[in-house]
Amino acid sequence: MKNFLLVFRYDSNALPKGSPEELQAMTKKWMDWIGGIAAQDKLTDRGNRLEFVGKIVRPNNVITDGPFTEVKELVGGYSIVKATSLEEATKLVSGCPILSVGGSVEVRPVNEL
């Protein structure tokens, strides 16, 4: 079993604001999806969501401010799963609620440090 990082991306403009019921439904979908991975004993780290703000540090100490509300492929969060192959890890992504709002999930094998 190896670890794979899931990078969750979405278009910050396209994100539906959502009523409380819609947000709650989204939370349920998320918990059911990640709970499903945990139930297969394939979750290494539930990860975190990233806040909308941030900064970019570039060469020569050039700092750009967030927020990133214009960014089409904003990194919204990450999780770490475990699987025997990249293909198996990619299969775990199906059912991820971010896909239903036009987002994407990048699956990257991680090196052991």
């Binding site: 900064k55 540090v57 570039r58 990194v75 990450y78 896909l99 239903s100």
Partner: protein
């Protein structure tokens, strides 16, 4: 103390055609930098990515080969640190060796769970 994630984006050293020596030298500098962060008590976790991956996107769950994005946007790895605030996190990020190449570090606060 709060947690921030560094997303290491792009680096011409990782492009095809670059010398293995340059790649190795950068890796060593990164390991050195990370162990300094550990000694200073700010390092929480690091995940260097392998250069392969997949991307799952959209409601049709299309799977394409990764990694994702234009060369200068490709995420090569991430590190989580703890710092007083984002400005302190940015100061830490300025020391990252990849900035000597054509790369940048995206600094994002993690949401509190």
């Amino acid at each position: 103390m709060e947690k921030f994630i560094f997303l290491f984006r792009g680096s011409d050293v990782y492009q095809p055609g670059q010398s293995p020596e340059a790649l190795q030298a950068l890796k060593e500098k990164m390991i050195h930098w990370l162990s300094d962060l550990t000694k200073n008590g700010v390092h929480v976790a690091s995940e260097p990515f392998q250069p392969t991956g997949k991307q799952v996107s959209g409601t049709k769950t299309t799977v394409t080969d990764g990694p994702f994005g234009e060369a200068k946007e490709i995420v090569g790895g991430c590190t989580i640190v703890q710092a007083k605030d984002i400005n302190e996190a940015v100061e830490i990020a300025k020391g990252c060796p990849i900035l000597a190449t054509n790369a940048n570090v995206e600094v994002r606060p993690l949401q509190k769970m």
